[in-house]
Symmetry: C2
Subunit: 434 residues, 2 copies
């Protein structure tokens, strides 16, 4: 058996403690699988005193994670501090500068500085592993970096935020409003006190930025992602989706187009009979379309201490095994510059829900504005007007054939100016999963 | 860049030719990803003359694959001949005896001789890779051997045969009978002229035998698998399943029980709203339940030249990278003996469809036989008797609460002897996917 792999773990929250516990508890199994013993030799966390469910005897303690990365007697550095900058970044850089491989669950660090860090790693003859940074326990990084290594990817998409998926699932199944559902999610610990990062789509965007680079061999470009959260989704939309044979999910999508890479995170209608549509609750799922495989789908837990720890452990085992592919799938020098396809050029079908004043000319306005912008309609459903409060309004739901984002925005802008609408039009993109 | 990896490919059917073409066509991409050039240096196939879509200049030709494995100037041997014995086995053994790693898509070879071959490999300091042997392009072997390496698995199950899934999907969507559907599948090349291996469940059993070993760290035991094919499934069952909120799939299941490992392949009713139930046509899917991850699901193409070639290429890249985990996930000496849980001890819900003579006492016979065997019923549906042909018979559909296979068999045996049934009872197991 080869010499032991000495690990330094920085950050002992739920995931970090879980990883250390697993290495202690499953020591023999892990050693048999990889032919090498894993030993935690150094630790760093904010507070030292806390009991964390594993035996820290013989492990060196560092108050400063950067000192651990710089001076610890370690063969691999496990960064579970979090945050795109600050000590997490400094510590990772310090480890890489020593040529020590880094295992991290830090999506923000990679989404913001992934290319620079990949360069630093390669320059020092090492790599970064980050299975836990995207979709928790789902082995999507390993799949994209290794299993698909002979494939050219055309699209990667999925459900990457458990909080949003949990909320949309409950809104659908229990008819809850967005606000009451959010409160419940917060009470249950599925949503943060400030939920913006999750429900605004930003968490999913960070993960998508990383997947895009792996998928297309391009530099990471978080700032190019079109991001729209779920806060405007109503039970009316969810019910209309069901009637039309769709379900609404917060989808993260990245695809190659003629004008560059299109990255977007937004609520989308997807066919109710698709496997992706059955992904409920906090579960995540990622699908990849590629030349050799056609389409594959991976679904599983997107968060949680033990699932994330499982992903971290998988990376540690790869380091122990001795081979790790290039951080972003290719040597950093071979990554292509990111070319952004503008969101206005996005092509697809659209669902539009309008609240229309029940008066002469309203429907003609809709029909004309769509026609003017070259938008053809797949279906139109107008419900009976609600006349109880003053001038009646009628809900109208349109589903368009494939058109462009620019055309839809122009049509809705003109429609709003015509003055027949009560309130803002609702628009949800339809994702074709074939 | 490290020295090139020299490959010998034996078997140049669709998959073998595809692999060689991809290595030629994607040469630069593959070398960038793994830091090493892949070069096919030796070939063997039945006929030499055939043009196969890649340049064979500089490649040594062997009429005998065993000679290639024994004498070829190669660093890895790619076996794409097929068959559990004969030259495929001999050639693989010859390569392993030289300490050369083997990449194979041969499920029969592994299901029958996997443990012996793993021992031979380990004894010579090398390993066998077989991503393409199970579920085609889905990276389930890599996932189980590497991504789940810290997990203890409790159940692995899935849709492992594309032919059966294609047929069941068409029977459901088009109301076709089994026989007409089989003929169509044969005409379209989705089923063999002798379809027994697929529709009898044996193909899925071979794949399951391999997954079971990886899941539970046990020796492979193909002969312990309870196998039941799909030929008795009727459109009536499919329609009844739909009414009850299920879909019928040929499921391969392996799980740990108190009395050992339970391996079975049979048609099963699974919840229509589950992700697995949406896996249609020739697509395969595998789900794994484990301690750290809960449940993950992988779906994708289960067969086809390019998907299988993609999996072979992924294995070749791993060999080029230099680390491969133990063939069956653990060193062969650490594999546990296989302990078989008897199928009669299987616990679950059951769907039973009876054709009952429309006479006094028939229903009492059903109720009594179930009660005698401790079986409680979740639902009973009796349709109106069909009186057009002599003594009328009425279809009766029962769904049981959880019970044992032994109890169901005893109840149905007694019921048949009571003489109230026209024809054999139909019984389909219900799989709980929670």
């Amino acid at each position: 058996m080869k010499s032991e792999l000495r690990l330094g773990i920085a950050g002992l929250g739920t995931v970090g403690a879980n990883v250390a516990q697993l290495i202690e508890r499953k020591s023999d199994l892990l050693a048999e699988r990889v032919g090498r013993k894993l030993t935690v030799t150094a630790l760093s966390a904010r507070r030292r005193e806390k009991s964390r469910g594993f035996d820290t005897a013989g492990m060196a303690w560092f108050d400063d994670p950067v000192a651990l990365a710089r001076e610890g007697e370690i063969d691999a550095f496990v960064e579970l501090i979090g945050g795109s900058d600050g000590v997490a970044r400094e510590a990772v850089e310090a480890a890489l500068q020593r040529g020590i491989p880094v295992v991290t669950a830090n999506k923000a660090l990679l989404a913001h500085h992934g290319v620079a860090l990949a360069r630093l790693a390669a320059g020092n003859g090492t790599e970064i592993l980050f299975e836990a940074a995207v979709a928790g326990g789902i082995p999507i990084i390993k799949t994209m970096r290794e299993a698909l290594s002979g494939n050219e990817v055309s699209r990667v998409y999925g459900i990457l935020n458990g909080t949003c998926n949990y909320m949309l699932t409950r809104m659908e199944k229990e008819g809850l409003t967005f606000d009451s559902c959010l409160k419940d999610a917060q009470d249950l610990g599925y949503a943060e006190a400030d939920p913006t990062f999750d429900i605004g789509g930003f968490d999913a965007a960070h993960k998508l930025a990383i997947l895009t680079s792996l998928a297309f061999g391009t530099e990471i470009s978080l700032e190019s992602i079109f991001v729209e959260g779920i806060s405007k989704i109503t039970v009316d939309d969810i019910n209309a989706a069901a009637e039309l044979g769709y379900r609404i999910k917060l989808l993260a999508v990245s695809l190659r187009t003629d004008s560059g890479t299109e990255q977007r995170v937004h609520p989308a209608m997807i066919p109710a009979r698709s496997a992706l549509a059955q992904v409920d609750g906090v579960t995540n799922a990622v699908a990849v379309d590629s030349d050799l495989l056609g389409s594959i789908l991976l679904a599983g837990p997107g968060a949680g201490g033990s699932a994330t720890a499982s992903a971290v452990l998988s990376d540690i085992m790869d380091v122990a095994g001795g081979f790790v592919p290039p951080t972003l799938g290719l040597p950093p020098s071979r990554l292509q510059p990111y070319v952004r396809a503008r969101m206005r050029a996005h092509e697809g079908g659209y669902y539009i829900r309008l609240s229309v004043f029940d008066r002469v000319g309203a429907f003609a306005s809709i029909a004309n504005r769509m026609a003017e912008n070259g938008i053809s309609l797949e279906s139109i459903v107008q419900r009976k007007a609600d006349r109880q409060k003053g001038e009646g309004t009628a809900p109208v739901v349109l589903v368009t054939h494939e058109t462009t984002e620019a055309a839809i925005r122009a049509a809705l802008g003109a429609l709003s100016k015509d003055g027949h609408l009560s309130g803002e039009p609702q628009m949800i993109r339809i994702e074709d999963l074939d």
